[in-house]
């Protein structure tokens, strides 16, 4: 089965993506969530924000997704770190998540990380 070729997008907050972070790796598969601040039809690059963090998303491979500034989106894809150390996520799937409770999302992400760490230590 080809499932081994598809990597799971690790759940991260935009605040987790900065040069010295463990998630800041070339080709890392990530899932990010944020509000659309800017979108360029020519380059298909979107900029999403969450609090004071932002991330560029390459959306050229996405189909059936309309981009509205101010709406919330979630993307799964691979991180491309450019020579100037700026990162852009090459998205393979994306969806509009307007209505998402970001506070709950962040809290459950913290709980999940603890849960996975506990699970590893007991098996």
């Amino acid at each position: 089965m080809a499932s081994s070729a598809i990597k799971s997008g690790t759940l991260v907050s935009l605040q987790d993506i900065y040069p010295s972070s463990p998630f800041f790796k070339q080709g890392a598969s990530l899932r990010v969530t944020g509000k659309l601040q800017e979108y360029s039809v020519e380059t298909a690059v979107a900029i999403v924000i969450d609090g004071n963090a932002n991330l560029k998303i390459n959306t050229q491979h996405l189909r059936d997704l309309s981009f509205r500034v101010g709406s919330f989106y979630q993307f799964i894809g691979e991180l491309l770190i450019q020579p100037d150390n700026e990162a852009i996520l090459q998205a393979r799937v994306g969806r509009n998540v307007d209505g998402i409770d970001l506070n709950l999302y962040h809290q459950s992400l913290q709980l999940l990380r603890q849960f996975q760490a506990d699970h590893l230590s007991t098996t």
């Binding site: 089965m1 080809a2 081994s4 990597k7 799971s8 997008g9 997704l65 919330f72 409770d101 999940l112």
Partner: protein, 168 residues
């Protein structure tokens, strides 16, 4: 509750598991070829699971099967939805109207599984080439943007308060 009853208390219920948990299940050795396949998690025998996540791959062989991947952020679960009811010897013994209903439902599910949608998938836990996967019995597309978060919380809650408990 005696030992055997305790081991089977989660058998045949759709346990809600996160992908990393589901993928780490160990298949219990069967004593004969007629034993149903089961998997074990902290002493409990499991046969069915429910997973919720984003569809990140899709491979359709019309009238045969749809293979797809559900990514919930903790891992990728391979799923197979059989579409070969009308010419499968397994279904040949059942009444044709029933088989047609099952086949129609399966085809409806297959059309709903598209790249990027969030789906709640239930089915039997099976194994293919050494990797745990789900043989799908039903699919619901989740449009609520908080569905995955809620499923994650449910999985953690159930693991702590129900699935992990050894002395019931």
């Amino acid at each position: 509750m005696d030992h055997n009853h305790r081991r089977r208390r989660l058998y045949n219920t759709h346990v809600k598991l996160l992908a990393f948990d589901l993928l780490s299940l160990s298949q219990t050795p069967s004593h004969s070829s007629s034993d149903p396949i089961s998997f074990s998690r902290k002493g409990a025998l499991l046969s069915r699971a429910e997973t919720v996540g984003t569809v990140t791959s899709r491979d359709l062989k019309p009238s045969k099967f749809l293979k797809f991947t559900i990514d919930d952020g903790t891992g990728c679960v391979g799923c197979v939805l059989w579409l070969n009811h009308l010419d499968s010897p397994y279904f040949a013994r059942r009444s044709p109207p029933d088989v047609r209903l099952i086949a129609e439902a399966a085809n409806r599910f297959a059309s709903e599984i598209r790249l990027g949608v969030v789906a709640r998938v239930r089915g039997r836990i099976t194994s293919y080439r050494g990797t745990v996967q789900i043989t799908v019995s039903d699919v619901v597309v989740e449009r609520d943007p908080n569905a995955e978060t809620l499923h994650c919380l449910e999985c953690m809650n159930l693991a702590r308060n129900c699935y992990d408990a050894s002395g019931l």
